[in-house]
């Protein structure tokens, strides 16, 4: 199991080191500093590194290295998941962008958290809500601090993600269905890769220990119910928050759970069939003989209902390195050549559904002594389309059952974003 967790800064200085087993020592930090930090190779080198039979598994947050050391044959996914959890916990305590200073300022708190979330190299309870009940540096003492025994049953309970006795005046659930579309089109319009990854984010404000049942228009469920409705969406695969009863899902694909209080990610899913691409882009890029000019012609079509609109649309059309200037004609939005991006960047704040746009650019190139061939990187597209799902997934129901039988307000939002949305030219 894990022998030690270290946090190092960019220079490789130890900021935090917590030893769980005595088969590695601080000196290991030196080998890590020399072989990984100094090499500045992160991003190219694998995140698992073996130096003299000591394995270093590391990830980064900002410019800090979170490193787990071990000498045994550990489960590497477990180690990384713990490191991610640790970073998540620190984010919850110290703020999303906690930095070196924040780490130093709260060193003792961090030690306390590390002591609680891992014992002898085995990860223990990592639920932030529960940790907050008893690790708070004495700064915040909630009035209703639970009795120690109640606390411990919380920490070790089957439902360690939710504490008992939560009360809300209004019972509400916010559901966000976030989809990101990954697309790779070849220059002649063939789909090389296309998939949607979706997340269902929830924010629950519910009293007591409510039992929830959640339903999407999952094809497998709809087919079973045999209702004369639109066919459901074929979901390739999904993963669930640990509150969801997986056995139940496996048996009849119903999603049942007692939710954590507040924000959490209920599930992720993946869809690869019948995807509605929100934008169609037809490129025509020609390099002129002798490499003095490139002409670019683009047609962009918003392929969704005219009731909706897309926001934050950004199209990056790469141009060669030696571009001198670009003459751009377009019907709306703002477009200009941005040398630092080596691309023509076209931005549109609001792109109505069914709208079409043409862009025309004449790019003049500077003459170079040794003309290098241009690698023609793909066009990159970013966008957000509210109230639209590329996969066609929608929430069919969310039922909340509680002893007291209160009424729950539900709010559902959909948004589709571009993931890796690329068109080769």
């Amino acid at each position: 199991m894990i022998s030690m967790i270290m946090v190092l800064n960019q220079k490789g200085d130890i900021m935090i080191s917590r030893q769980y087993r005595d088969d590695v020592g601080r000196a290991a930090a030196d080998s890590f500093r020399l072989q990984v930090v100094a090499a500045k190779e992160t991003g190219t080198e694998a995140p698992v590194k073996r130096i003299e039979n000591c394995s270093f598994l590391y990830t980064r947050h900002l410019n800090m290295y979170f490193v787990a050391l071990t000498r045994s044959n550990v489960n590497p996914a477990l180690v990384f998941e713990y490191l991610f959890q640790l970073i998540r916990i620190l984010k919850a305590y110290l703020g999303e962008d906690f930095d070196e200073n924040a780490m130093r300022n709260n060193m003792t708190l961090i030690y306390e958290l590390m002591d609680e979330t891992m014992d002898f190299g085995y990860p223990q309870n990592c639920a932030v809500d529960v940790l907050r009940l008893y690790i708070n540096l004495g700064n915040v003492r909630p009035q209703d601090e639970p009795e120690p025994s109640q606390l411990t049953s919380q920490i070790t309970g089957a439902i360690d993600w939710r504490r008992e006795g939560i009360r809300h005046k209004k019972n509400e659930v916010y559901i966000d269905v976030l989809e990101s579309v990954n697309l790779l089109l070849s220059s002649n319009g063939n789909v090389l890769r296309n998939e949607v990854t979706g997340q269902v984010q929830m924010n629950t404000k519910l009293t007591g220990m409510p039992e929830c049942k959640f339903g999407l228009n999952d094809k497998l469920v709809i087919d079973k119910e045999k209702e004369d409705r639109k066919p459901g969406v074929e979901i390739d695969d999904c993963t669930f928050h640990r509150c969801v009863r997986l056995g139940k899902f496996d048996a009849d694909r119903t999603i049942t759970f007692i939710p954590p209080d507040g924000e959490f990610e209920l599930m992720r899913y993946r869809v690869t069939d019948n995807i509605n691409l929100p934008f169609r882009i037809i490129p025509a890029v020609q390099e002129e003989q002798g490499m003095t000019k490139v002409s670019i012609n683009l047609k962009v079509i918003a392929n969704f209902s005219d009731q909706l609109y897309a926001t934050h649309v950004v199209l990056k059309v790469p141009v060669p390195k030696n571009t001198a200037k670009a003459k751009i004609k377009h019907s709306f939005g703002r477009a200009k050549y941005e040398p630092e991006q080596q691309a023509i960047v076209w931005r549109v704040k609001r792109f109505a559904g069914k709208a079409e746009c043409h862009i025309n650019a004449e790019v003049d190139l500077m003459p170079t002594v040794r003309p290098k061939p241009w690698s023609r990187p793909p066009i990159n597209v970013e966008f957000q389309v509210p109230m639209f799902t590329a996969s066609g997934v929608h929430v069919r129901f969310l039922r909340v059952y509680d002893k007291s039988g209160y009424h729950t307000n539900r709010w559902v939002r959909y948004i589709t974003k571009a993931g890796n949305y690329q068109i080769r030219i």
Binding site: M1, D22, G25, R26, R104, N105, T152, T197, T239, D250
Partner: protein, 891 residues
Amino acid sequence: MAKFVGNNDKGSDSRFFTTQKKGEMHELRMELHSTDRNVKVDAVKKVIASMTVGKDVSMLFTDVLNCVQTGNIELKKLVYLYLINYAKTQPELTLLAVNTFVKDASDANPLIRALAVRTMGCIRVDRITEYLCEPLSRALRDEDPYVRKTAAVCVAKLYDIAPELVAERGFLEILHDLISDSNPSVVANGVAALSEIAETSGKDVMKISASVLQKLLAALNECTEWGQVFILDSLAKYTPADGREAEGIIERVTPRLQHANSAVVMSAVKVILSYMELMGSQNSDVIRALTRKLAPPLVTLLNSEPEIQYVALRNINLIVQKRPTILEQEIKVFFCKYNDPIYVKMEKLEIIIKLVSEKNIDQVLLELKEYATEVDVDFVRKAVSAIGRCAVKLERAAERCIGVLLELIQTKVNYVVQESVIVIKDIFRRYPNRYESIIATLCDNLDTLDEPLAKASMIWIIGEYAERIDNADELLDTFLETFEEEDPAVQLQLLSATVKCFLKNPEDTQDMVQRVLDLATEESDNPDLRDRGFIYWRLLSTDPEAAKMVVLGDKPVIEDDTFKLDPSLLNVLIGQIATLSSVYHKPPESFVVRRGAGETNEFDDDDDDDDDEDYEGGGEGEVDLLDMGGLGIADGAGGAQSKERQVPLQKVCGPEKSGGLEISAGFTQRKRKIRLEIEINNISSATEVASLAIQLNKNSFSLSPASQQIVCNPPVAKGSTGRTFCELVINANMMAPPPAAGQPVSPQVQIAIKNMTSGTVFYFAVNCNFEALFSADGAMERSAFIESWKSIDDRSELYGTVSDLPPGAADIESVQKKFLQNNVFFIARRPVPGAEGQEVVYFSMRTVSEMEFLAELTFKQGVNACKVCLKTENTAYGLLAKQALESLLRY
């Protein structure tokens, strides 16, 4: 989400890092004794901050320990953190904390009870361990689940320190009971602890029976994500009784494939894959269904963080080798995204090559071509090489692959061309005489080649197809101009290619081949090249026809190497899915070193984690472990033989001279290296001895330290004893002036040592045990011995009798054996003519400084004494050599 803890400078912990001036320790000490709780807490925080940055704050041990008597749980946690770090260096003082621990372990607050048990388990001091057993035994039966789950892990901790205690106290049985605990966290930690003990001891302490199995499967639904991983990993080690049981377990495990935590998913995959093996072929339907179920979660893993993707890809690499059907339809998901990290892209490429088939080759080639235009050189090269590997793998697609390679060569990008040439050579070797038409294109790009491997490949192609290249000899000639500067690999290829060329076209290349052979045999100092040159030369000059058969003979066609992992290794690794072993693609034994079984603690340094005098205890425990595992070294005769002679150390320096240290030292030889063994007994030096610097005066043996620095690992604290050594080398400059004629040299070596921690310098002298200098390479030919023996004047013989030898020491066989271990080599043995029961034995030895000594030992049966006669040219050292033999005889 609101920020929870203030970031403001006032009251933040960063101020504790800043103040570290002189006299500060004193100040800290005062603060630690303050009556104001806040001052006290702050002081402890400062101590922890210093500890974090690696400063030694062990001198505050008692002061910090004093703070432990507090009801404040925050302060308590900090003090315990300090204790864990420094307990080893202050084992005596740590005992003072025992009372607090014991008291806390029965506190009313379960959080404190658990904290005490958890911390005690982390303190690896023998005597603390004794006190641990009672509270632990209570904690394991505590009414509070939080305490029980902590206690469960603590049993694993205790097993690591003192396995016999765990057995004695019956903790294993209690641990086993915890598997049926009502609380899932307790079950999870119980399983984790048992699995660990099972692994370290090599015994099946987990004992999964039918009922245990049911409990584990039931807990699987209840447990935390980590607990699920522990349970799944232990299930993977279990062998189901039959196919039906396997199927039943798999059914319970498959829902885990939907878990958000990738570790749970991977462990579930591992269980399913291992059990599929056991189900055999009769259940082909079930296996097909499982195969379909495994693909989606594996693909989903590729949407996780890059680190997880990397781990998943390394595992998938194994899975597609074992069961190619699982992902055969999914090759697209392994196509690289533009912004994937390089390490992910590289792994994806490997898998693409493994999944490529005639159905998808066109798509794959388009992708690979795309990658070959990217910027990262390593990735581009790998993509180009992948195209070649596709060609080698798929015969019917080879032509298309070559087409793509030719297109890429046209880009004239230096490294693309080079890599293409390298893979084209492989394609030629796979499909001889099929694609020679492209050689012309390759030849156009000769100038771009500057890497040895690419050059060597190109030269191989030229030599192999010399008859089809009009100007093969000219091309080779251009390379020959720089022959001497080339890499050996290129030189070898040039030599072979020129010879091939000559055999195919002898008229025009006579001069050239002569030149190459000259260069190879006369100018080069590379033995491989010279040997090959001579072989060719001889072949060509004696029998050109034979040369043709040898040099131009058919070469074996190379095989597609994409499924290269050896099947037995692959099976081992499939059982190791979701472990580091599957990431490294190496069996665990190759990188997991059990402690006590080899070199340990390479990383250990002197600050915080070293074994102190309780090291011995821990060590013994581990040896026991090994014996249980059946790995112990054979005992009996073998054991006795392998025992090395312990050099008796001489007391050389008392505490009054060296600032409170008592030093003993002696010379010895280990693994062919001469060492000065030093034993340090820290009688009264307050600072612990961690590092020493050593200097030797000129001496009769030219000895000089290999490194001036000696590290004491572990550091020697007051009241303890530590051993270290200094490696010595022979340095002619260190030779002392020779003694007056006829006088023996002084055996003394004068040494100065500086204690780097305290700055004290002290001097002493050690008498050299001459036998430590005998060289392991000193064996002498019998004839040489006789010659030397005769040539040395009888007057310089040294005589002596060694009497009162210990019983058995006069047995010639054992003397011979003993001497051999100490590099005194046996020459001959013969009975003395005319003297019943007497035998003479001859030995020789040579020191590392090349002095030879010849010895004649006479034994008489039944007499525990022996006559020694010694001859040497180096008379001044004769006496020492004789003494050395005597001490070896007596030992």
